[in-house]
């Protein structure tokens, strides 16, 4: 599903912020991405959602080498990837509904289908009352849920979430993680960057740990603290 070989990355002419990254994420796997602030978690996710290109090494997604994939085929690839950005990146002038609908509209779905799916999902994340609200009028946690809804609305094969529970209370964090687990059960591959050690131990999925731009892959076989 996701394969990195000797990947290095730098911003412009700056130092390498990621070094010698090698990993292989199986289809249907669930990984937490951890590490101190500035370790390179967001940078690693950016490589996966094709916002940045590596300065060296090989990345393949869905079995395709990114470097040799023609540009016109990348949009279709991106639609299979859902992203929860660390800074949400909601579109200010669009309502919560339209923000969540965006991936479906971009993919050219019919409006009736879009209306049904989007309303249902927003209800599920507890924003049924806020369909027409602008992002600026929502609380941080509400915005985050809109961002998550936008990432999952297209039923992506790969879901990348950058601190998706940073602004919500513990109960909502658990609820969102259960949504992620539901999706994982339906076959979605997940990578969730988080500082929340509690969630990592509680849900006990595999962990990718970044330290200073380098990856240490550990497997924490924790038992579910039901």
């Amino acid at each position: 599903m996701v394969r990195f070989e000797n990947v290095g990355m730098r911003y412009g002419a700056g130092p390498e912020v990621l070094r010698d990254i090698g990993m292989e994420l199986a289809a249907g796997s669930f990984h937490f991405l951890t590490g101190p602030s500035g370790a390179g978690k967001t940078s690693l996710l950016k490589l996966m959602y094709l916002a940045e290109r590596p300065s060296r090494g090989l990345i393949s997604l869905f079995g395709r080498d990114i470097a040799t994939t023609p540009r016109r085929e990348l949009p279709a690839l991106r639609r299979k990837i859902g992203v929860v950005f660390q800074d949400f990146r909601l579109i200010d002038h669009l309502s919560a509904f339209d923000n969540v609908a965006l991936p479906l509209r971009v993919a050219g779905l019919a409006e009736e289908q879009i209306r049904e799916h989007v309303s249902e999902l927003l209800r599920w994340v507890g924003l049924a009352e806020k369909l027409n609200a602008r992002p600026a009028t929502l609380s941080g946690g509400q915005q985050q849920r809109v961002a998550i809804a936008r990432a999952v609305i297209g039923r992506p094969s790969l879901l990348l979430a950058d601190e998706p529970t940073g602004n919500v209370d513990d109960e909502m964090a658990l609820r969102l993680l259960r949504l992620f687990e539901e999706m994982n059960k339906l076959g979605t591959t997940l990578v969730i960057a988080t500082h929340n050690e509690g969630l990592v131990t509680r849900f006990g999925h595999a962990r990718l740990h970044l330290e200073n731009g380098e990856l240490t892959q550990e497997r924490l076989r924790a038992q579910h603290a039901g």
Binding site: R89, H93, V106
Partner: protein, 296 residues
């Protein structure tokens, strides 16, 4: 189609507020240039048709000590069989003939315009023009009998160069329109970089993103173009009124060309706003596609 929802709030940018007015101005100027050349062409054709039954005698410009050249020529021409009339054109009338192209600043003397005699012949029994030419040249040195072709040819040359100038102006206006749209679009891309990037990352094709900009450009340019066309038509209408009031010698000569534009001329003018809108749309599209190519 123009009312479709935009993901990118381009319509709130201050940079796009002026675009319709700039396009309106450009369409207006292009419309006037186009109408001008069409009118000139029409005038030339009308002259061609109306002058074919007449001849002109050209005498050297008066004032070089031969004031009797005109009288001598008239005396020679009038008795000739087949000549129905020979009327001199006053220097004033001659000057007016060329005024629409050369302006009023120059006097006839300064221009050294030839003296003209309007010669009408009986088409059924025309005189021997070659013999007449020879006699005329003997009596009045420098006198030329011509059948207006010469004048028309010179005028045609003038009209052609005016047309070329007008075409160059229209092309320059088009170039300026392209640059304006390029800058407006780039400004839009810069202001909305974050939204464009999100659309890009969630899998929007370049064409989808470009579509938002190009619809906006089409909408604005069409609005501006229609305003420009309306201004052009108002101006032409006003000129037409003035022109109708200046008819000289009946319909034979008008100080200002009449506005007898043909249907296809009006069609060409009416197409201007659409041409402007098309140019704006394509320019916006190309500009956005090029910018997106730089994204990974």
């Amino acid at each position: 189609m123009l009312r479709r929802r935009l993901d990118i709030p381009l319509n709130r940018d201050s940079s796009v507020r002026f675009l319709p007015w700039i396009i309106a101005l450009m369409v207006y100027l292009a419309g006037l240039a186009l109408a001008g050349t069409l009118v000139l062409q029409g005038t030339l054709q009308r002259w061609d048709a109306s002058l074919s039954g007449t001849l002109t005698v050209q005498l050297p410009p008066p004032g070089d000590g031969k004031p009797d050249a005109l009288a001598a020529a008239l005396a020679l021409l009038r008795p000739v069989r087949g000549v129905t009339s020979a009327e001199p054109l006053s220097p004033e009338a001659t000057r007016r003939l060329v005024e629409p192209w050369l302006g009023t600043a120059l006097t006839a003397a300064e221009l050294a315009l030839p003296q003209l005699i309007d010669l009408r012949i009986d088409p059924a029994a025309p005189p021997d023009l070659a013999a007449l030419q020879a006699r005329l040249a003997a009596a009045v040195p420098g006198a030329v009998l011509d059948d207006h072709r010469l004048w028309l040819d010179r005028l045609a040359g003038l009209v052609l160069s005016i047309e070329a100038t007008a075409l160059a102006i229209v092309l320059l206006i088009g170039g300026a329109a392209v640059l304006t749209v390029v800058f407006t679009t780039r400004a839009g891309l810069a202001v909305h970089h974050a939204v464009v990037e999100v659309l890009h990352l969630i899998g929007a094709r370049d064409g989808y993103i470009a579509g938002q900009f190009q619809r906006q450009a089409l909408d604005l340019a069409l609005r501006g173009g229609i305003i420009g066309l309306a201004l052009t038509l108002l101006t032409l209408l006003a000129i037409g009124r003035v022109s109708a009031a200046t008819a000289l010698f009946g319909e034979h000569v008008r100080l200002l060309p009449s506005l007898a534009l043909r249907p296809w001329h009006w069609l060409a003018l009416a197409l201007l706003p659409f041409a402007a809108a098309l140019i704006a749309m394509l320019t916006a599209r190309v500009t956005v596609l090029r910018a997106l190519k730089r994204m990974p």
